[in-house]
Amino acid sequence: MVLAKDLMTMQNPTWCPGCGDFVILMSVRQAIEKLGWKQEDTVVVSGIGCGSKLPRFVKVYGFEGLHGRALPAATAIKLANKALNVIVVTGDGDGLGIGGNHFIHTMRRNLNITHIIEDNRVYGLTKGQYSPTSPDGFKSSTSLSGALETPLSPITTAIAGGATFVARTSMINPSKLTDILIKAMTHKGYAVIDVLQLCPSYNKTFDMNWYKERLVDLPENYDSTNKVSAFEKSIEVTEKVNEGIFYIEERPTYEDKVTQMQKEPLVKQNIENIKMDKFYNKFK
């Protein structure tokens, strides 16, 4: 079985000191260790951005695709080989801005994949522009007078859109993050985790103290199977920010519903000497 420390690669992260991505990286490695996933059967898929460099630092298969396009690539990887464990890592700009359309449609599909949104509420790699989750009035190099758009709530969108596991947590408490990540990775279906994190270079508003003062667990008697109350909880405006698993639903996955994929993964199917007569006959 692979240990988290063996999941390091020959490359060293180039993230800024204090970046939340380090914590997320550690949690991903630990979750893979705890679940006993085989390195060769695991794929981490990302787009482009600071956090999207994460696959480079986990010694499993990786796919660092295009900005905003991690989800469609992950969708096809899962369709091609449903036996693979697929984790998707996107940023808030990458996954919710340019990749917003894919986010919506991946929720509808409910493939058995885990999607970590590294949500630092700012574009980091391009040096600090406001993102879809930046609050109204957020000042940045492209919003000198403050951002004018209402921020998008990843979890509200995910609950409404049909994701079957929706959680919010943060990198402030790494063990809680790993715990929720493991639950997401064992959930059968599309699991979305909004991970609130720091960007020490470009987002000074949401610093460690900001999170520490506001983050609270969901109430103990909270029912995570009730979609309506999950939705309500996700839009609740208070001084505090709830973290925990907002919503869980059991629904057949996309791959479960495709007849052609039931026997074995597409990638295992024989493609040599395919007999064509029955297809030609359709045109006779």
Partner: protein
Amino acid sequence: MEKIVNDLNLKIAGVAGDGILNAGLMMFAKTVKRAGLYAFASAEYPSLVRGGHNHLNVRVSDKPIISQVYELNLLIALNKESIENHAALLSENGAIIYDADQIKDADTLTQKEKLYPVPLLEFANQAGGRIMKNTVAMGAVFGLVNLDFSLLENSIKTTFAKKSELIVSGNIAAAKLGYDYAKKNYSKFSFALKPTGVDENIFVSGHESVALGAVKAGCKLICAYPMTPATSVMTTLEKFAIDANLVVKQAEDEIAAMNMVIGGNYAGVRTMTTTSGGGFALMVEAFGMGMQMETPAVVVESMRPGPGTGMATRTGQGDLKFLLNNSTDESPRIVVAPGCATDAFELTTHAFNLAEIWQMPVLIVTDKYVGESYSTVKPFDDSKYKIDRGKLVTEVKEDYKRYEITKDGVSPRVIPGVKNGMHTATSYEHDEFSFESEDEDNKIMLTQKRKRKFLNLAKTLPAPELVGDKNAEFVILSWGSTKGPILQAMELLEKEKIKTSFLQIKYISPFPTEEVLKLTKEKKIILIENNETGQLGGILRELSGKEVDYKILKYDGRAFFPSEIQTGIKNIIKNEKEKVQVFSKNKNVAVENFGVK
């Protein structure tokens, strides 16, 4: 008078919703195929669902045919507009089947002797409903051309096999009324069809042939977004999905589709997408990622005329340079262009092998004319086809380098699941281990590696072949869907003792520069393209400095008629100053508006 046997060109015209395709393709073309004849069918229709002017041309012969022709022998006019638009195309002894109860002033539109009225609506209502008008007309066609009614009856049973008994018997009754009426009143019709009795062929469109090729090549995943005229590849594959055990995934957009294609191939499944120009514009970034990651991919781009949304349901060849140059920086891609159904099957099966052997994306370029025209062809000979997955390996050592620098440029490729093969495929420039690298020397090495693949693969491609009279002074140079009209025009010219040869470029990238120069040496090149600039000629000039001598172009959104090519070539012979000729329905529009001479 002796009848003209087995050489008929008919057109069914009306509004969308009249059942023109069903009548023309299923009841007529497929039935004559079953009688051992050959058919070629192509439709013109506007981009809408109900109404508009639609027409389908079906040409029948006892020899294989791959082109439409201009002159009509029989017009089935389901409305007045059909007579207005097409009566002028009728040959001597041609006829129009129409409903005189509906179109009362037909004799003001054409010569009276061409009018063969049949009470289509009355018979349809009698048999089961007005929707069967097209079936009555088909019955009349079978009566006119002296084909046995049982042939049509059997086809109706097959066509409506999944419908109720009432629909089957109603259609048969409708057809019989039309058939008997034509037999009784129009035995004078000059054209007849005579079955050969040998039915071993298939009747397929170019895009159906692409789909068949994909099945044969073991394509298991098709990720695409619908876009006319490419959609027919996707819908055909969806019909095959269960039997072929493949998955058609309709993506949320073309960007997703192309990223899925790279993802699917990365995971080891032969994955393809299909789109038209506008959709491909959205795929360009991910196409580039395929070249950077050295992932196999197969993309069908079915061109439409015009920038932007353009003309969705018409034909043109304007995207070639876009496809050859799409994406950032300079990176090799393979571009193939089928000219007929058989080409479409062969090039598609080859495309999947090329993509895996050379680990790069392959574009199959089609258009509406080659993609959505149907022809009777022999079932494709796939007996020699072997799946070749190139350097796909299942075992690697710990120090595995995904992008190992090799002599031929191709590195051993693993897919997830292979032990020790773990690496991160990346759209960033990278080193041999697939680690991001911005090092100068590395960039040169990787660029040259990708280029080496391109140079080496060029040596493995089949050379283009000259057909026709190899000693002829004029050689026609073209690609894609112009093939059919060109070959037909060559036949017409041959009858006038004008010899020509034809060089069809099926593999456009890498471009066979040396072979083209060799085969056109000391000959005059006539470039024929369905676009405004003659893009293939531009490529030849860019790569060799050689200019084509003449251009015959058409860019009105319609395919060439063989007679236009015939006229164009005769003009060149008459007057060598005819350097550029542009054809359209009204040639003067092109000449007057643009001063093209």
